[in-house]
């Protein structure tokens, strides 16, 4: 009788095919299967009982046992078949079965800063033009990120990360394709993507261990370098991770600039090594190099009497960096306690010509003034994040920039403007101390408290307190090491 029901159910399913299976129908079938299971279980138990009763009469018992066993296997086979039919019907739900993985990141801050965030500046360094300042005071919504990803076909995977700005507007944070089937460890990525240089650069802001980027990233990369271009990566067939990468791009983001020229505007190279030390420790170390040719890269400043000035740089910018990260967890089980140490150093060299244009302001020199401009500046940060209890972490970061050398031909050659007419490039050594605590109730939420004493601006200390939330809705993200 049960078998007949089952056959009917199976036929019903076969004909219903890929059409959306109704939950109630599935439920019914599941229930039926459960009933069948129970019934068989009862029969088996009965047989087992008989078996034990018959233990004295060896011959009879043996036949009963075989019977019981064969009934049991049969029951299992039947129910397995039925359930697999039911579950495969449930998994295939027509057109939307091919929907990509979608997740949405919600973020916001409550900020209290002792200095005006609108006047933020990293004195001594050519402004990067990115949104590098602290978040606005009081309550503020941060960028919401919509992440959509799926395999396109057997050759390509596609990923789009769209940032929805709180003031409106959508920006493609990343939107790239990635190959799945190149041979010999190669992988090609194209479109817009975060460059592979450095360690933190490739990581999305919502996965950072602090609310904001290290100073060196703010000063030299405008927070984070996006490339519009191509990236080729190669992983060596070795037990130690040896990963080499090369990128070519339009080179239109700081330290590059828009060029309106044919061909490749920027290139980058990176190499990473990584491995384990025992079961508890994993590490990665990398070097990277970026070369771009900014063309008329402009920033606004004020001269010594407060008139507006536009400074424009044309030449080459080369950024070299080294980075390392080490993660430790007892026996490699990071669920309860773990430690993450991370540090990076970058050196930025710029070589070219600067045009000082105050014609819209004071107009002290009867027109723009130009001269050689070359700089060699560096910066680093080191941070430690300690998860001392499940869900709870504490972290500390130290940031420092080294002013290095700035040879401004306009000032050195006495062409008119003096050092005081370049206040943004005043000799300064920015530092920052940052302390953070966060609570991570699940893989999908994080609430953070962060204190910082930020000496980015000449002669001023900005004491900052941020409360930040980061929520992730939808598909479970996979975060890079």
């Amino acid at each position: 009788m049960f078998k007949r029901n089952l056959v009917a159910a199976a036929i019903a399913f076969a004909f219903s095919g890929p059409a959306p299976a109704q939950n109630s129908e599935l439920g019914k079938i599941r229930e039926e299967i459960n009933q069948m299971r129970e019934a068989y279980e009862k029969r088996i138990q009965n047989l087992e009982k008989r078996l034990s009763e018959a233990e004295g009469k060896a011959g009879k018992a043996e036949t009963a046992a075989t019977k019981a066993e064969s009934t049991a296997t049969k029951a299992e086979q039947v129910s397995a078949r039925a359930e697999s039919a039911a579950s495969s019907a449930a998994n295939r739900t027509g057109e939307n079965a091919f929907n990509p993985a979608v997740s949405l990141i919600l973020q916001g801050t409550f900020a209290k800063t002792s200095q005006n965030p609108n006047q933020y500046q990293i004195t001594g360094y050519v402004p990067s033009g990115g949104e590098v300042g602290p978040p606005k005071r009081s309550f503020g919504l941060a960028e919401s990120e919509l992440v959509i990803a799926a395999n396109i076909d057997h050759y390509f995977r596609g990923v789009a990360i769209l940032a929805i700005a709180p003031e409106g507007g959508i920006e493609a944070e990343e939107a790239y394709f990635q190959t799945l089937s190149l041979p010999r460890g190669f992988g090609l990525k194209g479109g817009r993507f975060f460059s592979g240089i450095g360690y933190q650069n490739e990581r999305h802001q919502h996965t950072w261990d602090f609310q904001d980027a290290p100073l060196v990233y703010k000063a030299f990369l405008g927070n984070q370098l996006k490339q519009d271009g191509l990236q080729l990566r190669w992983v060596a067939p070795t037990d130690l991770l040896v990963e080499l990468g090369a990128e070519i791009s339009a080179g239109d983001r700081f330290p590059g600039s828009g060029r309106n020229k044919n061909g490749v505007g920027g290139s980058a190279l990176f190499a990473n090594l990584g491995g384990d030390i025992g079961a508890s420790t994993a590490w990665r170390a990398g070097v990277s190099y970026l070369s771009v040719s900014p063309n008329a890269r402009a920033y606004s400043d004020t001269d010594s009497v407060g008139g507006a000035v536009t400074n424009t740089f044309t030449g080459n910018a080369k950024l070299a960096g080294i980075n390392g990260v080490l993660k430790w967890a007892p026996n490699g089980n990071a669920s309860y306690r773990n430690l993450k140490l991370q540090g990076e150093y970058f050196q930025l060299k710029q070589d070219g010509a600067l045009i000082y244009d105050d014609t819209a302001g004071t107009n002290g020199f009867g027109g723009p003034v130009s001269g050689n401009f070359n700089t060699k500046q560096s910066g680093w940060y080191a941070q430690a994040v300690w998860q001392f209890y499940p869900q709870w972490r504490v972290g500390y970061r130290y940031d420092a920039l080294r002013f290095g050398t700035v040879n401004n031909g306009i000032v050195n050659n006495g062409l008119g403007p003096v050092a005081a007419d370049f206040p943004a490039l005043a000799n300064h050594r920015p530092t920052r101390n940052t302390l953070m605590f966060d609570w991570n109730p699940s893989d999908f939420s994080r609430i953070r408290l962060q204190f910082a004493s930020d000496k980015s601006r000449l002669g001023v200390t900005d004491n900052q307190v941020f409360v930040q939330y980061i929520y992730s809705l939808g598909a479970h993200g996979a975060h890079k090491f």
Binding site: G27, S79, A80, E83, S84, S87, N91, N151, H154, R157, Q178, L180, S181, L182, P183, R184, G185, F186, G187, R233, W234, V235, A236, P237, T238, D239, L240, L241, V242, E243, N272, L273, G274, G275, D276, A279, A282, W283, R284, K327, N331, G332, N333, A334, S335, Y336, P390, Q391, P441, S442, D443, F444, H476, G477, A478, H479, K480, F481
Partner: protein, 301 residues
């Protein structure tokens, strides 16, 4: 000059070509699949296991060493059912290895080979870290291992057809030994039927279903969330009415929570190996279940 070039080319060439000691490079996401691969593949496979019994397979990072190993794998064997959702997809996109992509014969998932338990009727993250396809810890029922072994052996044959006979005979031998062991285990475990226990994570459900063990509750208030004091308080109240024989944990679960509850309920903590390498005796799959039963019977009889 030409010789110099030759040396470099040879060097680079040598670096690019994998030392082909074994026919199949297997990367197993969890120790149980590593052990099964060794049973089925013998000396025709070289097996690298990505995690240990002391690590929670839900929370592994796609660390550099794993990317390096995934690069050279011919066959990657994982549980599936989203157990490795936080790290395996990254290995697949970062290792530059076409063979181990989803849908390729070089990527094998164990969970789809068996009947899944605890398939959620409703999906909501408020229910904790639930898996849409069902509870992924399928290896705790040895009958599932038998089914997975059949599928895995076929997969090895597909990837390395020259050794078909070898894999067939190993699969046959394993299956025979496994059936014998299964009969023995089921006979030995008869006293465990109906025994009540408290679990930690819902990772023993298949074991419980197999042996008829009743799980009165879990230390985790919701799957994947660490135990809270309020939930443990509720558990104690429940245990007063419906006593359990032991608190069951796996080696990667926090011992403190289990010990606290066990101490207050005056029942022992039983640490089951959970996977190969989880105890001294769980050296292979046979040892895993021998030791699991021995530890349960020590309190369940």
């Amino acid at each position: 000059m030409k010789n110099w070039l030759k040396v470099i080319l040879l060097g680079v060439g040598g670096f690019m070509v994998q030392p082909a000691l074994a026919a199949l490079n297997v990367m197993a996401c969890e120790p149980e699949w590593g052990a099964l691969s060794k049973e089925l593949g013998g000396d025709k496979v070289s097996v690298y296991v990505a995690t240990t019994a002391l690590q929670d397979p839900h929370h592994i990072e796609a660390r550099p060493s794993l990317i390096a190993r995934a690069r050279s794998a011919d066959l990657m064997i994982c549980t599936g059912a989203d157990l490795e959702v936080g790290w395996v997809p990254l290995l697949q996109t970062q290792a530059g290895n076409a063979k181990i992509q989803r849908g390729q014969p070089g990527y094998f998932e164990a969970a789809p080979q068996v009947l899944m338990l605890e398939i959620p009727e409703r999906l909501d993250r408020a229910m904790g870290d639930v898996h849409p396809q069902g509870n992924p810890h399928v290896h705790m029922d040895p009958r599932n291992i038998a089914k997975i072994a059949v599928a895995l052996s076929e997969r090895m044959i597909r990837l390395d057809p020259a050794e078909t006979e070898y894999y067939r005979s190993r699969a046959k031998s394993f299956s025979e030994r496994w059936q014998q062991a299964l009969t023995r285990w089921e006979k030995d475990a008869a006293p465990l039927r109906g025994v009540a226990v408290v679990g930690y994570h819902k990772n023993m459900s298949y074991l419980n279903a197999w042996l008829g063990i009743r799980e009165v509750g879990s230390l985790e208030p919701k799957p994947g969330l660490p135990p809270t004091t309020s939930h443990m308080g509720e558990l104690l109240v429940r245990l007063a009415k419906d006593p359990a024989r032991a608190v069951i944990r796996s080696p990667y679960n926090d011992p403190r929570a289990a010990e606290w509850l066990a101490g207050n309920a005056k029942i022992p903590v039983v640490t089951l190996p959970f996977t190969v390498g989880g105890s001294d005796k769980a050296k292979d799959l046979f040892g895993l279940f021998d030791d699991t039963l021995a530890r349960l019977l020590a309190v369940g009889k």
